[in-house]
């Protein structure tokens, strides 16, 4: 096999311990190039294998840097070699968004792991981006604390959750990534390391670049470390549920709960195709407080409501499986009942088994369809859903879909501010090498 000069150059870049990466300032989250675990002899850079594809596009190389400094050196080399790069954490959402137009190098974050700091008294933690989200409780729960982010796909990393802005039922009380991320370390397309925010929750110094990279699908830079605010674990939880026959009723009940004084942590509707729907209210707090509020929630939901201390099946998970079509539907709160019933009616019209599940209390629903669904029918349903969500102030985004459906539908739909977004992309990644084409408007 002929020598691969690009591979050699990437390997050489990974071996140089960069001295020009600035030491982190005290206010910035975490450390570049210090104290990273796992300095074993495994190769940092290798040629891509058959599974190293992004939405069906094959990469040539895979690099797994062990710290921010090494990631910076690799991205500088990739810039010099004009390589197109996609970032990959747990690989659980690489089928989200459009396929990249170009792909040479997968920059894998799974060696960038570990909790850098957990300051329990300050209710913050600093975590490397490749750390699995579902491993954090092991560190945080001992202090009675949590990072209040749900994990819709098991195995996902912190960086992946930030990059795709995933959230779950508890966003109703705790918010989403944008509300919990207080500091970030990035490596830019040109290999420059930058920090924004810090390690204190209250901080308005400088632009909030953490929000800019949240949900940017890795098109603006590599996230290597994140600082988060934490919350205390609740002493008691209760899931109060009721099954309902039609989705309009589910929407109406959700509105009733919202208007009451329950302060729920989550208010969910789960409506599998062809089965009864269920409304669930999650209450958290002191034992006495939760008992009283759960009783009030049962009264509001109706006589056959039940409560449990464990979540119902499918809680916080997306209502689709690998290879299926997955959608995200949003609405102003008053439009949730209409969205629920119109979505079901549209699916029936197109003869598609649409599973709906999501946060009726905040106006975010997820919808799943079997991957084998006829692309024409899916496209018709997406149009109908876009008309409905548009009428209630929201959006329909196709998060993931098999290739035949992808080819047939516009994944993102209309986007406000697209021209400004293109300008931001152009400043951060002027040569369009970071996952080009993955994001809105072909960004």
């Amino acid at each position: 096999m002929p020598a691969d000069r690009t591979l050699d150059q990437l390997r050489a870049a990974a071996e140089v311990r960069p001295r020009d990466v600035p030491a982190p300032r005290p206010a910035a989250p975490g450390g570049a190039a210090t104290g990273d675990p796992g300095h074993d002899d495994g190769a940092v850079v290798r040629t891509a294998g058959e599974h190293d594809t992004i939405a069906g596009v094959a990469a040539r190389y895979v690099a797994a840097p062990r710290d921010t400094g090494q990631a910076a050196a690799l991205l500088r080399a990739a810039a010099a070699l004009d390589l197109a790069v996609t970032f990959r954490g747990g690989g659980t959402k690489q089928d989200w968004g459009s396929a990249p137009r170009r792909l040479d190098l997968i920059l894998d974050t799974t060696a960038l792991t570990g909790v850098v700091e957990h300051a329990a008294g300050d209710l913050i933690t600093v975590v490397r981006a490749g750390t699995r989200l579902d491993e954090l409780p092991a560190t945080l729960a001992g202090a009675g604390q949590q990072l209040a982010l749900d994990v819709p796909l098991p195995g996902g990393t912190v960086g992946g959750a930030v990059a795709t802005n995933t959230s779950g039922p508890r966003r109703m009380l705790y918010g989403t990534v944008r509300d919990l991320l207080i500091g970030v370390t990035l490596v830019r397309a040109d290999g420059v390391v930058a920090h924004a925010g810090g390690k204190v929750v209250k901080n308005v110094a400088g632009y909030d670049l953490g929000k800019l990279v949240t949900g940017a699908y890795g098109t603006l830079g590599l996230i290597t470390e994140c600082a988060f605010r934490l919350h205390p674990l609740p002493a008691t939880v209760a899931y109060v549920s009721r099954a309902v026959d039609d989705l309009a009723e589910a929407g109406r009940l959700a509105g009733t709960v919202r208007a009451a004084q329950l302060v729920p942590t989550a208010l969910e509707v789960d409506a599998p195709a062809g089965e009864r729907a269920r409304v669930t209210v999650l209450l958290e707090g002191t034992p006495a407080g939760v008992a009283a509020r759960a009783a009030a929630a049962r009264r509001l939901l109706g006589a056959d409501a039940t409560d449990a201390d464990q979540p119902p099946g499918g809680w916080a998970r997306h209502p689709w499986r690998d290879g299926d079509v997955g959608l995200k539907l949003t609405a102003a709160l008053s439009g949730v009942p209409r969205l629920l019933s119109d979505a079901r009616a549209a699916a029936d019209r197109h003869d598609l088994p649409l599973a709906l599940r999501g946060s009726a209390g905040v106006g975010v629903l997820y919808a799943g369809l079997p991957g084998a669904s006829d692309p024409e029918r899916v496209a018709g349903l997406v149009d109908a859903l876009r008309a409905t969500t548009g009428a209630v102030g929201g959006h329909t985004v196709v998060l993931t879909a098999p290739a035949p459906v992808r080819d047939r539908v516009d994944l993102w739909g209309p986007v406000h501010g697209l021209e400004l977004m293109r300008r931001v992309k152009q400043r951060f990644d002027p040569d369009a090498r970071l996952t080009p084409g993955r994001f809105v408007g072909g960004i």
Binding site: R25, D122, V200, Y207, K211, Q261, G289, V364, G393, M421
Partner: protein, 490 residues
Amino acid sequence: MSRTTTDLEALAAALRAAIGADRVISDRQQLRTYECDGLAQYKVIPALVALPADAEQCAAVVRACVAAGTPFVARGSGTGLSGGALPRADGVLVVASQMRDILEIAPDDERAVVQPGVINLAVTRAATPYGYYYAPDPSSQQICSIGGNVAENSGGAHCLKYGFTTNHVLGVELVTPDGDRVRLGGRAPDAPGYDLLGAFVGSEGTLGIATEVTVRLTRLPESVRTLLAAFETTDQAGAATSAIIAAGVVPAAVEMMDALAIEAAEAAVHCGYPPGAGAVLIVELDGPEPEVAAQFAQVESLCRENRAFEIRIAADDAERALFWKGRKSAFAAVGRISPDYIVQDGVIPRTALSEVLRRIGELSAERGIRVANVFHAGDGNLHPLVLFDAAVDGETVRAEEVSGAILDLCITHGGSITGEHGVGMDKAKYMPRMFTDDDLDTMQLLRCAFDPDGLANPGKVFPTPRLCGEVPGRHKGVHPAQEAGLAEVF
């Protein structure tokens, strides 16, 4: 940097043609009214003031500025404490005071849509009849504007539990520094694309001017309970705060004042705090009645365990208001005990409170400058009030040194140079102490995407803005702004 009178007259004429003669101020005496914001030690008389009536007029003003290559500065109520709305002598001050309509209160959506000049408290007043309120509550909430809150990402006493402006703004319509009107976000969450809304909130007028703001309305809590605890020392009050947080309680607010701040508040508003207190703590819990009842008893006993010598519990709204009166009037109150003072705003990890207060005490003693301390103790946001007399030789300089040294303390403890007042004009020079050149350069990439010509509030936030160029990166050419003779604008 001086512009010729002819240039200015031409711009004034263009503005009058665009938005009406009565909405453009060029008279020197009238312009003087706008020479400063809430940070009155900086004064600059703007070249012109424009008072647009709506978003389209605001866009027309910005387009006229762009055509003339003239910088512009947006201003709401002018209550900001970092000089963010300090005018430019060569620029146009765009004042939002004529855009004061609450466009919609939508309790079913838990949203309100307002123009930028609407006063913060007015949103809560309009929403209260429906059982809702607007949560961010800066101390100036009776006079500060929502547009200014958006620019500064304002906080307030209750952001410990409820978050800041950025957590409560769901959408804006803005005029970009090019003069385009763009909508970001909206009534539903999670709009697709980059979170430019998140980047815009808190950008201190450097990325454009908000002309319409959609905010979240929060359900009025079923129950609110407030206690005031007096301690002999700030260390004891700090320990009580730590104990409350460690117990897993998230109060709506935890506020602390030290002896000097209490003395000032007593002199100003006779709030009747317990005599002899070295520190008072105000702790407020809100939420569903059964939760508040359970946690309030816990907070009370934690205060006692940490040696509170007196605890008062607000029996009604009037008494609660009295507790808060001393705290909310603290900044102005120090005027009763000192001819001049600097309001500082810094953040430390809460657990460093005791050490940082000790250092502030030492700094104060070393420099002979008194410091009264008021803070949002729950989240480590300090507001040291540095007292001095400008009439005494050298005191101003020493006060500024103490004030700056306090910011350095915040930085070395891993905190921030501003928690809620913003960087503005006042703290731009401190940014390089908190961020590397690369950090600041990266923030400038965002600035350049929005404002390549650097016309939106130049000179604020960043000490040395970069020249944007056409596109950064490998293909740099001669800078067009330099070519066009505009480089001096930066």
